[in-house]
Symmetry: none
Subunit: 245 residues, 4 copies
Amino acid sequence: MTSRRLSSKGVQLTGLESLMPNVKPKRKKAKAIRDSAATRAAILNAAKKEFAFGGYSGASIGKISRRAGTNERMIYYYYKSKEGLYIAVLEQAYAEMVDAENALDLDQMDPREAIRELISVIWKYYREHPEFIALVGSENLERAIHIKKSRKLKKIASPQLRILENLLSRGSLMGIFRTDIDAHRLFLTIAALGWFYFSNMHTLSNYLQKDLAREPALHEWLQHIIAVVLTSLAPTQSKSSKSII
Amino acid sequence: MTSRRLSSKGVQLTGLESLMPNVKPKRKKAKAIRDSAATRAAILNAAKKEFAFGGYSGASIGKISRRAGTNERMIYYYYKSKEGLYIAVLEQAYAEMVDAENALDLDQMDPREAIRELISVIWKYYREHPEFIALVGSENLERAIHIKKSRKLKKIASPQLRILENLLSRGSLMGIFRTDIDAHRLFLTIAALGWFYFSNMHTLSNYLQKDLAREPALHEWLQHIIAVVLTSLAPTQSKSSKSII
Amino acid sequence: MTSRRLSSKGVQLTGLESLMPNVKPKRKKAKAIRDSAATRAAILNAAKKEFAFGGYSGASIGKISRRAGTNERMIYYYYKSKEGLYIAVLEQAYAEMVDAENALDLDQMDPREAIRELISVIWKYYREHPEFIALVGSENLERAIHIKKSRKLKKIASPQLRILENLLSRGSLMGIFRTDIDAHRLFLTIAALGWFYFSNMHTLSNYLQKDLAREPALHEWLQHIIAVVLTSLAPTQSKSSKSII
Amino acid sequence: MTSRRLSSKGVQLTGLESLMPNVKPKRKKAKAIRDSAATRAAILNAAKKEFAFGGYSGASIGKISRRAGTNERMIYYYYKSKEGLYIAVLEQAYAEMVDAENALDLDQMDPREAIRELISVIWKYYREHPEFIALVGSENLERAIHIKKSRKLKKIASPQLRILENLLSRGSLMGIFRTDIDAHRLFLTIAALGWFYFSNMHTLSNYLQKDLAREPALHEWLQHIIAVVLTSLAPTQSKSSKSII
DNA sequence: CATGAATGAGATTTCATTCAT
DNA sequence: TATGAATGAAATCTCATTCAT
């Protein structure tokens, strides 16, 4: 990744080693797969890892195909181009995230409890899906030019937003949430506090001289997010400090 | 950047066009520069833009040298390797940021006012330095492997932290801030809420179907950060919700 | 054709746009053709255009199959190889030309008039069949190696030659044509003057800074050919200038 | 050439074997040339042969570099792209032709004699430069899209045209040429009759069942061209057949 | 009759980098 | 200090073609 030259030298990784590509691919090349779906999936899976590891330009068709146990030609057969494959990877990554969110059922819970649950689930998702963080980070580095070419991704509306809207209206009706709250802002607040921790973990760990990937820090930060968000949602006592969320 | 193929097609940028490399380099090739410092600076400047635009692996020595108005050989002369140049760029970017923070003098201000000011300044810095966001994003994609090779960057301690510690102790002595607050967390909170907005602006604008680069959104979010942070710093009335920050 | 890179840029054609492949193939993929003859013909037709546009090596099986609305495998099914298809295209092109010539009936005409007619017909054929010019040009670039592999093409004898022999003998008996004339030479003269105009039209238009594809030039040149040929056929008055034709 | 697959099989050439690339390149790779001009020239020379042999798309950068005794990278170093190299080859080929024509000095000769001389020289040039014929043929197959990108080639005006104008005016003043003659047409007539013979030699030899590359045929055709042209230039006796040339 | 899956070789081009002056 | 020349490796992608159903 990083660079051809560098990758041959010793590279020490910290934390997300799972992203590192195995040097030896699985070599299930025993006699050609002849299974369209399996080949497609193998390519997509390998691509997800490589793109997450090196970003769009850091990944290479060659490595992806080797990791997938096929040849480069098959990638063009199924995905037309490097960009086509990249977009497919992004689409799948977003779809998985949306699926995870859709699995949530917070309608029966106490709104404050539901917020706690939601934040925890999002946090867990970020934590367990460093490739998602990396892919989206890569895409932002590219100013989202690839995502904009995807029809599917244009239509993906965040289920989080509707969940949040529900929670907010229920909470404000019950008098436990402020009434002047916007689902967009609440979403951005939760996402920002969780995302940044993981997306910038490596430089932050260096900057703060503290390993953010280790356990006490992780748990504490989750609790912090919950506390900050709930506080900001609480109805203002007497004198309000302008608009909050 | 991104890829040879892509770069030839029409690429629409959103907001941070300053990152886009000019096709025509400055061509001050009037007959060689013969000015060591100027050449070094031209290279560094060009490199900053290219690395910010395409990340580490998306940038190329060739384009950097062309943009700088020198030849590739000069880059090796001054910076030894692509990675050496990249590290130099990171070092300069961090140094500039630290300088900007050091320019702040909040000691005479009311702590709450000082927090407002600090958040505004940080926000402004992020907003005006998209290359900084991009460079750090790129470095996180690379798991900070380059930063770790820099001696200078290991030593950089955030001046923000000391500023925050001062503010926090002054504020809690005055009884307007909670007493159980950690400068690290406060810093991460402010940084997260500001950084994420810019670092993920492109995908978020697509995801939320709303242009975050435009003005009403920008101003509103800054006010939001200030409100959230101040609220979270305020002493808990009566029954505290566990530990906040 | 020419090259991947080039084909994506703007290519301005001059005159023979009909050779340019449509980007969108006819897409009669409504659910497989299931008509042997139709598929064969579609392939042959698509191949003619592609080979005419890019020559033998400039054309590709992939583009041909897409243009024909089938898949690449079908080409191998019907024509065995790229070369087999190319030869089939050449055979068809020559056969069509021979058919066109056979349709001529000049036996009743005045020989001079018949020559005029013949030249006009040949000229018209060249003009209306730029693919024929291009295909034969391509084949000459390849030193006719493919044509030599075709049994059919070895046997094709020009009907023009017999027509010319007839005309020449009739004309010399009538005393209006010279007696020392060879049908081969007459054919070559007519062909050369017409063919060159079209085969080299693009470079000539550039070289002479004059658009040979436009109308006044076209008509004038045809008249010129007729005049030159008839003059060269006319019996020498008094002192002959050695042998003419 | 023709095709990767074919070229490995036995290819029989007829006549212009000089165009065939040697399988073993000269391998003067003894330790790198370090001579800019020599390398450039070696590449250009090799390219001329390869492009002449296979046309634009039939030639490959790999073969050219091997034939030139360098590596592929150098071609991009000096000529930027395959097309850049191709254009350079065309430019050189045209320049050589123009030089050859400029060497002619026909002003002192009898106009009829000068025409004979000019036709012979052009004929000789075509005969001795099959690569020129092939290159221009290739370029016409590509509809002259590359030539149009060359500034140099746009400016090349045929010295032939001025030579011809001189001869025509001298001849008509002397009363031995017709007065209604156009240098463009005369040039096209001479060029067509000579060019076609060589450009289509391979298919014609097959079509007419006669080897046009052999000696009697060659000499006879040259004499034929001279005779036809001179006859067409001669003043019309009494009753003219409309406009001639 | 028709087609989807697979492939190795080779295409053009760009990469980061070293050599030599 | 500066630069032109050279290079091998790898990048993305297309080639003609065969396998298997």
